[in-house]
């Protein structure tokens, strides 16, 4: 491996890593919002809407992100829906992540005994107040491990973004391998970049989870 080559390529990777992190951030944020709404729809069993949610969750969970992106980026323009690369990547990640977040939050909501909701009502709380003060905080604690696992999963999934013409880490690596045959350096930097992004998050999440186990809630 040539250290000079590595040094020379670092800026390329930094730029690509920033792109990855930025897209992942917005995708995960969107997925969390979608997941919260969908899980509430499922929890309260809204008529009709919950059928849509169920269908969406199954479609999204049982197909690869790569195909979802191909569909969004190459398929949809044929019926007049054209999205820029970045938009497309974020929409794809939200479509995929939304269902994973739905499942995470739903299991959180389901873990709360019905009578908790009732005792909230008993002190006169309105339905939305019950959601905000009683259900959400408890569901969040229960779903936190699944939520964190999803965050890491979704960051990893961003590695296919190069197929919608985004210069992400994989794209840069493939470019260097294909054009300059700097395979070892390119792969080394690729692994290091993903480790730098994912390792701190992963360690942080493990710590959070461990702490959470200590304060395991129980009535």
């Amino acid at each position: 491996m040539d250290l000079n080559v590595i040094q020379q390529y670092i800026p390329l990777y930094v730029e690509a890593a920033i792109l990855t992190v930025r897209l992942a951030f917005f995708g995960i944020l969107g997925a969390t919002v979608v997941g919260l709404m969908c899980s509430l729809i499922q929890y309260y069993h809204f008529p009709i809407l919950h059928r849509f949610v169920n269908g969406y969750v199954e479609l999204s969970r049982n197909t690869p992100l790569l195909i979802q992106l191909f569909f969004l980026y190459f398929g949809l323009p044929k019926i007049g829906i054209v999205m820029q690369s970045e938009t497309c990547a974020i929409v794809g990640l939200i479509f995929l992540g939304g269902s994973y977040m739905t499942e995470a939050f739903r299991s959180g909501f389901e873990a709360i005994p019905k009578i908790q909701e009732e005792s909230g009502l008993c002190i006169g709380l309105k339905k939305w107040q019950v959601i905000i003060y009683i259900l959400l905080p408890q569901a969040f604690l229960v779903s936190l491990p699944a939520f964190l696992a999803n965050v890491i999963f979704l960051i990893k999934e961003t590695s296919v973004f190069s197929v919608v013409a985004l210069a992400d880490l994989m794209y840069v690596a493939k470019d260097l391998i294909g054009l300059y045959y700097e395979t070892e350096e390119a792969l080394f930097l690729l692994v290091v970049s993903y480790l730098i992004i994912l390792l701190p998050i992963s360690i942080l999440f493990t710590l959070v989870e461990r702490r959470l186990k200590h304060v395991a809630i129980g009535n």
Partner: protein
Amino acid sequence: MWQSAIDVLFQGRNAIRLLEGLWVTIRIALISIALSILLGMLFGFLMKSERRLVRFLCKIYLEFIRIMPQLVLLFLVYFGLARTLQLNLSGESASILVFTLWGTAEMGDLFRGALESIPKHQYESGMALGFTNRQLYVQVILPQTIRRLLPQAMNLVTRMIKTTSLVVLIGVVEVVKVGQQIIEATRLTTPGTALVVYSVIFFLYFMICYPITRIAKRLEQSVEGGS
């Protein structure tokens, strides 16, 4: 316009070529899954080894495999091994190798988790009945382990099938690649093909993964109900 795009699917051998491509995907998934189940069990026991060093190495392996996106692993094996070991792996072999490495780690961890989730008194009541160690495992522990493991293992299987879609990015000619060829061939005459072909591939994946997910969910409920 849409009629002609759908017609493209049935022109010549297009539909059959797509299915052939799908078979390449499925073949990679099936071989990797089978190997992962076998090696995963071994890895699971290895993770419970008495020796700290063995456990430590297992942990490092598991965590590295877990933290790396599968596409990075594919690149490492396909481009990296070819370069450093002068080993010219075909895209398909590289994929099988990567998915097996990954599947073994995940399956092993599931197996370890399932083994550990069997309550201690199950071992004790088995021993109290006078079972030998071997009988204890075969009659009492393993059946329960497998019952607990099965839903998660099946979820892993769908994850692996979905992830095989990545192999197109290291040049394996499978369903997506065939789809792209068909789209390319009709790009000028029937541009609508892209939507139709990607929809078809989307639903092909869905139709393979959905039943497995359903069965996994049902098994999960029956395990929960049973314990």
